[in-house]
Symmetry: D2
Subunit: 139 residues, 4 copies
């Protein structure tokens, strides 16, 4: 599993003193971004000139609130790898081991035209498939 | 169905020129907020002093990209109404009638202690139930 | 003066129950964006393919807090118009007439290379200058 | 000077491929938050129950664009320390040593009523003044 930590900052929390849930999705996007750069050798800075990895399906359950100053552990793994898409599982824990949220997300590999108007699915390369497979867990 | 429109602004879009998906969740939160204020007579400005309506479960499918300047139509309805929670369906369309995204979200009615430390589920009042029921669609 | 209204939403406010100040800058960016589209006939959706209007200097004073549910009136005007840049004043009021914030911002007209690597200042067209001048106030 | 590093993520950048400027203010807020926690022994998680440190004045010059994947060095220091407020200077650099932005911000020490309705300026404690003074630079 790919694992990163993130500290809850003032900008994440809402009037109720807990993380505003769209901010969790930003944290999830950061996690995918870090995974692509650190583990799959596809830093977004390079990738986004000609391709992308849009989210097409997302399921998420919010189990426990997260508060200012807490450090979350974010985990990501692969549940299914297709031709041009993959299904990833994810889970965020807090410092006491409680699950803050969990879910799954489908990412699609796409190529983007230089004019940014055309987006189409593109099969993963063999090299990418191999690297992604390292994060596959038996379901 | 409760319906609002929202125009895609520069702050919503990413490097690829399309809406960054956590921004769609902010748009969804705005939709729920508008529904509570305009249709259910529970403006967030009042409600959040002593209670809240956190999102505990979210499923969302991103069908078509949305671009800068487009005006989206956002629709929300009720699929199931429980004691202290409800399941809502939602759908965002663009101006050509294409579905941009659709999904469902579970909201829980909670009371919040003045110290903001304790959050617990609280049954909807009869008045709220009646108002919510007006937005229920046969599934 | 160019004038728009914006309602404070849940996503704008912080733990203290007031607008988190980077959100005010998003509201200011929306104001500039609306001005370009509605008054200067340069919608960002078209402009950003080949050019842009980056902010290079910003001065802002936060005078009074803004709270959830309040409707702010946002005003923008031109204080100085140069070759390829302009200095704009802005002020946000709340419903009781109190100034929430005020300041000035310098915007530069630029062209952007298709590869998005090169950005350089570009003089305003005569047509643009004329339209911008309509919003100039004696300082 | 208090110094932190921050990597430009996908969520920071806009259609032009550069950091959207309100995101820089979020980075600045993070810097102040880290300074309070790591250097001044006032973590926001504790402080914001009864007090706060709102921004009342901000001047910022954007010198060079910042792009996806770059690591910025953020520096903060104290230019003037008053009874209940301080003037801080800040500067962000990129990896080649170029200044991305610089400016100054005035922060006010306030106490907040438990009902979150009353905010009033409150003198810094002697202990805080001493700690803040460690970051004072001759202007």
């Amino acid at each position: 599993m790919f694992t990163k930590q993130e500290k809850i900052k003032f900008r994440h929390i809402d009037y109720a003193g807990i993380v505003f849930y769209p901010r969790f999705l930003e944290m999830l996007n950061d996690l995918v971004e870090d995974w692509f750069e650190e583990a799959l050798n596809r830093p977004f800075a390079k990738m986004h000139e000609t391709s992308g990895i849009p989210t097409v399906d997302l399921k998420i359950q919010f189990k426990n609130a997260a508060r200012l100053g807490e450090v979350l552990t974010k985990k990501l793994w692969v549940k299914d790898l297709g031709f041009a898409s993959m299904l990833c599982g994810f889970q965020f824990f807090n410092e006491t081991g409680l699950t803050v949220l969990e879910g799954e997300v489908t990412l699609v590999n796409v190529s983007i035209n230089p004019d940014k108007k055309g987006i189409k699915a593109e099969p993963f390369s063999e090299e990418m498939k191999e690297k992604i497979s390292n994060y596959m867990l038996p379901s």
